[in-house]
Amino acid sequence: MSIVKHELRKILLFPALIGFVVLALVLNIAVVTTMRSSYADFIAEASLTTGVHLGAEFNERAAQFEPGLYADIFRAQTADIADVLYGYTTGYIADMAVEQLGLGGLSEWLMRWKYEQFQHAARSRQQAGDSMTLYFAEMTFMRHQAIFNYTMGLPVFQGITLAALIMLFSLGYENAAKTEHMVYATKTGRKISKHKLLAGVIAGLSVYALLAAVTLTVYFALNPMGGTWGSSVSSGFNFVIDGITARPFITWHSFNVAQYLIASLVVSLGVVLCFTLMAYSVGLWVRNSYIGFLLIVVQNGVLFLLPFYLPIMIPGFTITQSPIWLVLMRTMWFTDGGSNVILPHFETVGVVGSLAVLTAIGLFSAARFKRRNLVS
């Protein structure tokens, strides 16, 4: 059996991990069962008949529905809809962000540049007809939040926590079992940390994938999407509310709901991987898993608070690309990101940048670990 398999076995036999996963799943299922809406279910079903592209054809098909409360509301909400992205400009968002944050110099220039680029994205979404898609009509904001904020958010928070704990547990296992000296004196020696890293990454990502898969499956079983999978998330019914203003939900690239879900899952996996790498570096310096976890909590707390207190804006905007900020801004992924970020595609830049930085820190920590005296 390879060393990685042995390390995976240790992780999987950790009773607390199994307990955490079961508890998380119970919580998630309890939460998603509360997110029901019979009108949203009606829209999902109706979209199979009407399609998701609003317009005359859509209205004709909607007119065929038997009269009823939901059918009447549905027709009222979808008929004669104006395209919110027609002639839409993004400059006012930049103005408000600059004014709110008191930006100047480079940060002001970058913020305005971001929204100039975003103007092109808005035009593309409008030209592609994304804004004139159904999604969940007037239920869209609620449904979008239910899926991408809560149903996806719970497994992400649990995933990053468990991924960090798994990595720390794996690295701290020999210290807890008092087998460090014996293990590090074998041929593999301290290079076992590489095997533990691989096992921790596999276990951490798998646990997140399990949590997300079960939670989303239960959610979509209870709340069928019908034809709305094909609707654009940049539907005119969807919107963003943040510290700047309420505005249309516009993504840099065209995503239907299914594509946006997959893209969000990929970013989530990247974020979970970031926390695994973070825990790897901490675990190489701190042999006690619990102290290591406390350090990660403090470190992320500092990263969260720092941008609010930094007098200089650019370092603050760099920190908002960090993994904890990415998690907190998950409902804005693939959009402009509001006033907290200064670069387009902040989620991609953030994940790739964080992985690069954390890999470098991990390599440095591993090099130090190789030459560290193991006194006790």
Partner: protein
């Protein structure tokens, strides 16, 4: 040949070992000194767990940190306070250590069975170790140290937890093993090494006091090593007089 060349180890301002020079060839080397004298510090340096502050440790003329895994591949080590995985059976545990030692699965299984036979644990090879006695755990520890048929076997207080019968059995095993390898055996129990050690190493004030055969240490004045030890160290382990 393993050579400790003018090695000093400091922890901050505390000097744990100062200017130690030793040569190890095949045979049993007994590290005999009171607790805190520096035995474990030397062993940790020989097992690459800690690194000398000054000096170097060489194997066949190459520094052991340069040899890295090639050196540790020749090493078998039983640490003091041997830790183990409570939910593993001896077979599972030896399988894991074998993987760390780079031994392939089939060879590892055969070797583990053979060693468990030697340390008389065949009957409990698949039982969880959580209910094992201290002596049984120590025997698992000895088996894991022998898995890779090491050229250098380092045993830090290996007889702790063994009953008198097991200690005799263990001493005989070590004597057999030492024919074609270096065995470094740290203990503060003189009788453990009296009959099997080719050389006895003692420390004084964290410096090397002697490295000589038991016969030479006994000389004409003492009947056994115990008397030598008692003569050298007082109750607190402080040097009283040299033999």
């Amino acid at each position: 040949m393993l050579i400790v060349d003018n090695v000093t180890k400091k922890f901050g301002n505390f000097t744990a070992l100062e200017d130690i020079s030793l040569e190890f060839q095949n045979g049993v080397y007994g590290l005999l000194a009171p607790n805190g004298a520096g035995k474990t510090t030397l062993i940790k340096m020989l097992t690459t767990l800690i690194f000398p502050t000054k000096g170097q440790i060489l194997y066949d003329g190459v520094e052991i940190t340069q040899l890295d895994e090639a050196y540790r591949d020749m090493l078998g080590y039983l640490p003091q306070d041997f830790g183990y995985y409570r939910n593993y059976s001896p077979m599972q545990f030896l399988s894991y250590i074998a993987a760390l030692k780079g031994i392939d699965g089939n060879t590892a299984k055969q070797k583990a069975l053979q060693l468990l036979e030697i340390v008389a644990l065949t009957d409990v090879k698949d039982k969880k170790m959580r209910k094992f006695s201290g002596g049984m755990i120590q025997r698992v520890g000895i088996a894991q140290a022998m898995l890779n048929d090491p050229k250098i076997l380092i045993l830090d207080e290996p007889t702790a937890g063994l009953d008198p019968k097991e200690r005799v059995r263990f001493r005989n095993l070590i004597a057999d093993l030492a024919e074609d390898r270096t065995v470094i055996f740290s203990t503060h129990i003189v009788s453990d090494i009296e009959s099997i050690a080719h050389r006895v190493i003692m420390f004084k004030d964290h410096k090397l006091l002697c490295c000589d055969s038991p016969d030479a240490l006994r000389g004409d004045r003492f009947n056994n090593l115990e008397e030598v030890f008692m003569h050298i160290y007082d109750e607190d382990g402080v040097i009283v007089e040299l033999p």
